[in-house]
């Protein structure tokens, strides 16, 4: 059994993801997108980076690579899939999750620590949290503003598919705590199943104690479930 961390041309958080998972005693390996999913795949990470130079739109090219058909099938069969940063953009562009991630409101690349409020604690990614818990994780993106049509947003809320929202350290959803102007302060959402999630912040960069912050660990332990 292994978590497949899919490496596209221009991915750059794939090694970080493998290392973070290994630190948590979860078996993981990098998988080049042309090689297809290993037979013993038990989980999938779409890692951060700048796949295909963000050409056209961030994630647009990787989302249409053949391996994403296998990822979709695996996701439908219940395999846990986590898209992080560029992986969230790939997940969104491929239809694994709803909405779109586009240019930050500031029109700048935002690289900083943010606070997230857990909106749904009934998922593999948040099982160790309570709803309303606040965690601190880093972001590093230029195109992370979550956009979605009003009716689809209402559906996300009604179906409890919003996983994390940007908040201040006390859990308040303010404009100041929203680093990119995301609709509803949304930082991460679920797909059709709770085992499929995408988020712009980086749990793998807040897992190893040596690099500061470990709040990401509990998200990645979702692959143990």
């Amino acid at each position: 059994m292994t978590v497949a961390v899919i490496q596209f041309g221009g991915s750059n958080c794939d090694r970080d993801a493998v290392r973070a998972l290994n630190y948590l005693d979860i078996d993981a390996e990098r998988v080049w997108h042309e090689d297809g999913l290993p037979a013993d795949t038990t989980g999938i990470i779409l890692p951060g980076g700048f796949s295909y130079g963000d050409y056209l739109r961030a994630g647009a090219m990787a989302a249409r690579s053949p391996i994403m058909d296998d990822v979709r099938t695996a996701a439908e069969d219940g395999t846990p899939v986590l898209g992080v940063c560029n992986g969230a953009q790939v997940g969104s562009e491929s239809g694994l999750t709803g909405g779109a991630f586009t240019t930050n409101k500031s029109a700048r690349f935002q690289c900083e620590h943010v606070h997230l409020r857990v909106e749904n604690a009934d998922t593999p990614w948040t099982a160790e949290f309570e709803e309303g818990d606040v965690i601190e994780v880093p972001i590093a993106h230029g195109e992370g503003r979550f956009e979605i049509t009003d009716d689809r947003y209402d559906e996300l809320e009604a179906n409890d598919q919003i996983l994390f929202r940007y908040c201040d350290e006390d859990g308040n959803l303010t404009d100041e705590a929203n680093p990119n102007g995301s609709t509803g302060n949304v930082a991460g959402i679920l797909g059709d199943r709770e085992s499929v999630a995408v988020l712009m912040p980086h749990p793998e960069r807040s897992t190893l104690p040596d690099i500061g912050g470990t709040d990401g660990q509990t998200i990645l332990t979702g692959f143990r479930a």
Binding site: L56, R57, A60, R64, E93, G98, G99, A100, T102, T103, N104, K105, S106, A107, R145, E147, I148, T149, R152, G181
Partner: protein, 87 residues
């Protein structure tokens, strides 16, 4: 079969914030130009061999649907010209 050029124009839906366009507008204003709004769009010109204009339009339309535009945030329009008729 004739050669057609399908022009696909992709723009953000009305109401979707465009920070790059806002920044560009600000830069123009700093240069002393007066303007009240600036909207940006991406234009793709596709040369293709097609049976007729309708065929070319249909194929360009599908390309826009499948890749060039993201229906969550974009509207797009397609116009088609027969390449020879332009020369």
């Amino acid at each position: 079969m004739s050669t057609y050029t399908a022009t696909v124009t992709v723009r953000l839906k009305h109401g979707v914030l465009d920070p790059e366009a806002e920044t560009t507008k600000g830069a123009l204003q700093r240069l002393g130009f007066e303007l009240s709004a600036l909207r940006a769009a991406d234009v793709y010109e596709l040369d293709l061999e097609a049976d007729d204009e309708a065929d070319a339009r249909e194929r360009a339309d599908e390309m826009a649907e499948r890749l060039l535009a993201n229906p969550t945030i974009h509207d797009y329009e397609v116009s088609v010209t027969e390449a020879d008729s332009e020369q």
